[in-house]
Assembly symmetry: C2
Homo-oligomer: 437 residues x 2
C-alpha cells in the first residue's frame, strides 16, 4: 500500500482516558460518509480544484518541457515565492533531489536583506534562471525580491538577454506579474484559478522547481492520483484519510487536543512538515463558521523530526499537558543503510550498538517513542510509506490536502479562504504608502 495509517495508539481502549473511545469514532462515521460524498460530488462538478490535480496533464507537460529547456541553459534556479508559492517545492527538493538536475535555491522572499545578500554572494547570476511565483503579482515580498534580482541580472547580462532567464508563474490572464511578463517577453506558467496557494504544490507552482531539480514530477502527480482515487472509492472503515480526520477532530473537539504534531522519522521529510504546517493552520484557523457564527477554530500544527526531537520535545509530549496528538511518519525502506561498527566490544555503554543497522535503530527510536507516549496516556498515530519516492511524497500531500478538506467540513469552516491575513495587509499598505487595492 502507498500509505497506511495506524491509529490504534490514539484509542481509549489502548491508552486510557486521553484516547478516543472506539464508539465515538464509530458514531462519527455517518458524518464522515456524507463529507466524502460531498467531496465526490465536488470532484464530479469540478468545484474543489485540487481534487482534479491528477487530470491536469497539459500543465504537467508544459512544466516538463520548460524545465528541460531551462535545465539545458542554466546551472541554478532561484525560486522567488513565499508561503504556498514555495513551501511545496522546498519539500519536494529536500525529499527527492538526487543531484540529477539544476541546483535549485529558495530565496524565501522573506525580504530579509541579509538573506538576499548571502544569496547574491553565493551565485553567478549569469548562470541562474529566476522563477518568480505570485498569482496576482501584487504580493509584497516576492515582488520586491524579484524587482531587485531582476535589476541585478540586467546589470550582468543586459536588458535584452535578461528575459531568457526569467520564468513567471502567475495568473494566466490578468494581474501585475502577467502584465510584466507580457511586456518583457518572459516565459510563463499558470497558477490555476481554482486552486489556492496552499493547495498548489502539485500544480506548476511547485512542480516546475521540482522538475528543474531533476525530480520525476509525473510520479508526484501519479502518487497523488492514487491516494485521491483510494479516498473516493474504498470502504469507510479502511479509509486512512477519514480515520486521520476522525482522530484529530475528536481529539480537538472533545479532549482539547489542539496541538497537532507531525513527526517524520526521516530527515528528508522535515520540510514536508513546514508545508503541512501552512496547510493545516491557514485552512482550519478561522474566526467564523460557514454560517457566520464566531467559533475561533484552529488546531496548531507543529513540525517535529524524529529521532532528533526526542532530545528536545518528547519530555514535554510525555509529561506536559494532554493537549497534543502526535503523528509519526515511518519510512519502511531507506534508500541507503549502514551498520554500526563494533570497535569497542568491552565498553558496555555502546557495545550493544555494534552490528545494528541504522535503519533498525531509527525504527526502534520511533517505536519506543510511540510506546512511551502510550504508556503516558498520550495519543499518537503512525503513517507509513514504503520509501521516500515521488509517488509517496505526492501521495502524502494529497493525503493531507484531503484530510484538510474533510476537517474543514467537520469543523464547519471554509478551508479555502484566509480572511485573517487581511488586517495585516491593510496595515502594511498604510505603512508603505499604498493608496488602495
Amino acid at each position: 500500500m502507498l500509505i497506511s495509517y495506524d491509529f490504534s495508539s490514539a484509542l481509549k481502549e489502548k491508552i486510557g482516558p486521553a484516547g478516543i473511545p472506539a464508539k465515538s469514532k464509530k458514531a462519527l462515521m455517518p458524518r464522515l460518509k456524507r463529507i466524502r460524498e460531498g467531496l465526490k460530488q465536488a470532484h464530479a462538478k469540478g468545484s474543489v480544484g485540487f481534487l482534479s490535480i491528477p487530470e491536469r496533464r497539459s500543465d504537467l507537460r508544459r512544466v516538463v518541457a520548460l524545465a528541460k529547456e531551462i535545465s539545458r541553459k542554466f546551472k541554478t534556479l532561484i525560486v522567488i515565492g513565499i508561503g504556498g508559492s514555495d513551501l511545496g517545492a522546498r519539500a519536494f527538493v529536500r525529499a527527492l533531489d538526487e543531484g540529477k538536475g539544476m541546483d535549485v535555491r529558495f530565496i524565501g522572499a522573506n525580504t530579509d536583506p541579509e538573506e538576499i545578500a548571502a544569496l547574491l554572494d553565493s551565485v553567478d547570476l549569469k548562470k541562474c534562471a529566476l522563477n518568480v511565483i505570485s498569482k496576482s503579482g501584487d504580493t509584497i515580498e516576492p515582488m520586491s525580491t524579484f524587482l531587485l534580482l531582476r535589476e541585478r541580472l540586467i546589470a550582468k547580462v543586459g536588458k535584452r538577454a535578461h528575459a531568457e532567464h526569467i520564468i513567471a508563474t502567475t495568473d494566466w490572464n490578468r494581474g501585475t506579474l502577467r502584465t510584466i511578463a507580457d511586456r518583457e517577453g518572459y516565459r510563463t506558467l499558470p497558477v490555476p484559478n481554482d486552486i489556492g496557494g496552499r493547495f498548489s504544490a502539485l500544480t506548476p507552482v511547485g512542480l516546475f522547481p521540482a522538475a528543474c531539480a531533476g525530480i520525476d514530477v509525473a510520479g508526484l502527480v501519479r502518487g497523488a492520483g492514487k491516494i485521491r482515487d483510494r479516498f473516493l472509492s474504498i470502504p469507510m472503515s479502511g479509509n486512512n484519510v477519514l480515520n486521520y480526520c476522525a482522530v484529530h477532530y475528536l481529539g480537538y473537539s472533545k479532549r482539547g487536543q489542539r496541538i497537532h504534531v507531525l513527526m517524520p522519522y526521516a530527515a528528508r521529510l522535515d520540510l514536508l512538515g513546514d508545508w503541512y504546517r501552512q496547510l493545516w493552520a491557514e485552512s482550519l484557523g478561522k474566526r467564523l463558521s460557514r454560517r457566520g457564527r464566531e467559533v475561533n477554530h484552529g488546531p496548531t500544527p507543529v513540525a517535529a523530526l524524529g529521532a532528533t526531537d526526542q532530545h528536545s520535545q518528547i519530555q514535554l509530549y510525555n509529561e506536559g499537558p494532554d493537549d497534543k496528538i502526535v503523528t509519526f511518519i515511518e519510512v519502511e525502506r531507506p534508500r541507503s543503510d549502514f551498520i554500526v561498527p563494533k570497535p569497542y566490544p568491552d565498553l558496555e555503554g555502546i557495545a550493544y550498538l555494534g552490528g545494528q543497522r541504522f535503519s533498525a535503530i531509527l525504527d526502534a527510536e520511533r517505536r519506543a517513542t510511540a510506546q512511551a507516549l502510550a504508556a503516558n496516556g498520550r495519543p499518537s498515530g503512525t503513517i507509513a510509506i514504503p520509501s521516500i519516492s515521488p509517488e509517496t511524497v505526492g501521495g502524502l500531500m494529497m493525503f493531507f490536502m484531503l484530510a484538510t478538506a474533510a476537517m474543514g467540513e467537520l469543523l464547519d469552516v471554509n478551508a479555502y479562504d484566509q480572511p485573517g491575513v487581511e488586517a495585516g495587509k491593510k496595515a502594511m499598505d498604510k505603512m508603505l504608502g499604498r493608496k488602495s487595492r
Copy 2:
C-alpha cells in the same frame, strides 16, 4: 541597550480581555523578586551552573586555542551531536557565520541513514575533523554515527593518523567517550558537570564549533555576561527577563495561552528558535511539581519566522483560539540592505514599493503583524536587538536561559531535569538488546 523587551501589546489595557491586567503583573512582582533573589544566591553559591558561564575563562581559552589549531589543519568540521549538543552551535553558525573559518556541518546524529549517505557523498574525510559530543558517551544517536564516521575516516587515512582528526567533547573524568578518547589519544574538551545539555550552548559544547566557523566566541560569552549582570542588578520594573516571564506565566496560568511562539523577523535567527524550542519545552514540560504534586505543566514552544510565516501561520494566530503568546524579535540594523527598484511606475500593484528599503519593508511587516494581532485581541511582545552580532546572540541565549530558570520557579517545576525521556530510553534499550544501565 543590548536587548529590550516591549510587552505593551500583551496588556489588557491595550488589547482587551485576552491581555494581562497591569495589576496582575504588579501583583506577581513580589514573587518575581524572591525568584531573582534566589537566583542571585544560587549564582553566589555556584549551585546553578549556567549562571557562571561568563566566568569560565579557562574553558574559553581552551576552545579558542584548539579551534585555531584545527582550522589550520582541516577544511571542514563535522559536528556529531544531538539535542543540547548541537542546537546551540547550529544557531551560532546560522546567525553569525561569515565564511571566515571552517565549513562547519551538522550531521544531526539523527541516525537517518539517508542523511548520513548524503553527508558522506558531499565531503572528503581526509580534509575533515570530527567533533563528537556526548557527556556520557552512551547516547545512542551520536555514538552510532561517530563509530561509523570514525571507521570511514580510518579507511581513508589509516588508524594511526585518524586520531588527529577527532575532538571529543565529553565528561572530563569518566564515561564511555572519555575512555575511548583516552585510549585513542583524541583531543578533548570538557562538558561541564554542572550545566545540562540544553543550557550548554555557551560552553565548549557550542563554542568550539562556533570558533571553528570563525565566530568571535569571546563576544558570545561577553554578551551573555552583560545580560546576566543586568538581570541580577537592575530594578524589577525594567527587568526584561522578568517581564517576559510575567507575560508568559500569567498568560499560561490564567488565560490558557499554552502555545508560546518565538518569531524573529530575521532569517538568520531561525535556528535560534529551534534552540529555544528545546530549552522551553524540556525545562518546563514536567509531570510533577517540585513537591511531587501531579501538575503536567508545560507550554508548547513554536518556532516561527517573519515575514515568511505571515503566509502560513498568521491566519491561525489572528483568528484561531486565544491560546498563544507571540514574541517577535526585531533586528534594528541589518548588516546589509537594498532598495527596491522601480522599473514599472505605471503598475499600481507594485509601484509604491519602488525606492523602499528592504529593511523598512521587513520592519513594516512586523509592525503590521503586531498591530493585526492586537486588533484581534491576541497578545504579543517584541524583543529588539541592535543588530545580529556575537554579543546580541550570546545575550539572547542568556536572556532565554534566565527566563527559563525563573519560569521553572513560577511553575514550581525542576527546570533542569528530564525524567520524561527515560521511558522511551528504556524501551529502546530493550528493543536494541542493551542489558542494563
